[in-house]
Symmetry: C2
Subunit: 291 residues, 2 copies
């Protein structure tokens, strides 16, 4: 398969859906701040992951654009809040000024709140699926996004600044901060597409492993990438005295760990045969990305 072409076509679908959905105006200019970050491009990894998983199970990925794009809104809100001065205090994101640098801190807080809320609105607009299944999938997504998942991971991250944390604490932190939303994407896509229990189990393990590989690569890139390539300052982990897979295991150790994790992840997809090819390629991309 031509993965490059596949990925670009899926990205276009996601971008078109998001642009169209944001044409529906709210009552204030918080819409502009929301659009500034949501429509800034990005890899659209989570929605494409959801669609590719649905395809692995035998459905059409583009039937689930509302659910898929809801995940991107959740991801985007988390970046906006994460960049705030009281959090990571970043001025640039994807090579552009961060939301609060353009709209002010108060508006950036609200833009994040608005996107998180809109995510649920949009996800609940998903059709082609039994309402009872939709309730279950959106409920699980909320669990993955909240204090049990992403928000919990962010809070652990905030607490971990300026102190050494153990490898175990680091794992819990990342399982929440980045892993949980990959699980929401993969399990959401599988569930919507009517996966069997056996399929769901294998895909859940797959999601856990690519989440881990993604985070290890993130830590590696913060050391080996350039500011131009990454679109944000490098070396920020060291600057903020953060524990990472690189500081804990060394650069070579982290690289080996990423490779091993990815191999294990791919093995989970064996039962899906040809139809999981996009998922395999996405996993590879996540592990070998340069930004």
């Amino acid at each position: 398969m031509d993965f490059q072409k596949y990925y670009e076509s899926r990205k276009k679908l996601v971008n078109a859906f998001l642009e169209k959905r944001m044409e529906k105006k709210g009552i204030s200019n918080v819409d502009d701040a929301m659009k500034y970050s949501l429509l800034a491009g990005g890899k659209r990894l989570r929605p494409i992951l959801l669609m590719a998983t649905a395809e692995a199970v035998g459905a059409n990925g583009y039937d689930y654009l509302p659910m898929a794009c809801g995940l991107e809104m959740i991801h985007t809100y988390s970046l906006i809040h994460d960049d705030l001065p009281c959090m990571d205090n970043d001025d640039y994101r994807r090579g552009r000024l961060t939301n609060h640098k353009v709209y002010g801190e108060g508006m950036a807080v609200l833009a994040g709140d608005g996107l998180l809320t809109l995510a649920f609105e949009v996800m609940l607009e998903q059709r082609n699926v039994k309402p009872s299944v939709l309730v279950e999938v959106v409920h699980e997504t909320a669990m993955c996004a909240g204090n049990f998942g992403m928000v919990g991971g962010q809070a652990l991250d905030l607490d971990a600044e300026n102190r050494q944390i153990t490898a175990r604490e680091l794992k819990t932190l990342h399982e929440g901060k980045t892993g949980a939303m990959f699980i929401a994407a993969v399990r959401g896509g599988a569930h919507l597409a009517g996966a069997s229990d056996e399929q769901l189990l294998a895909l859940t393990r797959f999601a856990e492993l690519i989440g881990l590989a993604f985070q290890i690569q993130d830590d590696i890139l913060d050391v080996v990438s350039t500011e131009e390539e990454l679109g944000k300052p490098i070396g920020s982990d060291e600057k903020n005295h953060k524990s990472t897979y690189v500081t804990l295991f060394g650069l070579d150790g982290a690289k080996q760990m990423a490779e091993d994790t990815m191999k294990e992840a791919l093995a989970c997809l064996d039962m899906f045969g040809e139809k999981a090819e996009p998922l395999r390629q996405i996993a590879g991309m996540m592990c070998h990305r340069r930004n």
Copy 2:
């Protein structure tokens, strides 16, 4: 009816549900920050409004505690974010230190995010209702809470600081900031309880009007109340050069407006007879409250 007793019993149900639900732990100490604000008491107006509306339509209000308490979580998150230094910058709320004064700004942002996300998780745990109805009610709640409603109103409020706004702009601002969530409560309760189209129409108008009356009273209290009674500094609107119903229409004008609005609201409930008595009393309480 003994309204005092009715209200206290409903408040107990809400508090017990919230306490019980917060026993389910996340992965970090953002839970503590969430609980600090969520379990701090308060009037529990929105959940009780939802339950009383369901009762007016002939159902049992306590059957809908998950939906009702989700609204309280949304309300609480909005207070936490609203108190942040980059928003209203308040040190006290309900007579206690605000969330960020206790847990720091970063954690307060996350506590709000966590509560907003948990609200959807909890609402989607509502049983005793068809999944298709639940999808519709939670979807409408998201609309009321987001850039079309509460978040939009907050953004207008942020933009309105330090400049004069028109009576029309003030109305849109408050319809979003406070009105929308009263509409979510009343329409949510009505919808869950299986209200007819005619009932839904009357209750929607009722909700719009009590939202307006509530806001007018809010503006009046900022002038006539004491800091002790209100649990927060008075005169903050004047300090922040905010346009209010009092600055626009004078104290007497605002008081008259509140009374007229309340009368019109009560007329909407005529068709519900005796079963709407709690709703009537709640409306009166909202208009005559001292804090």
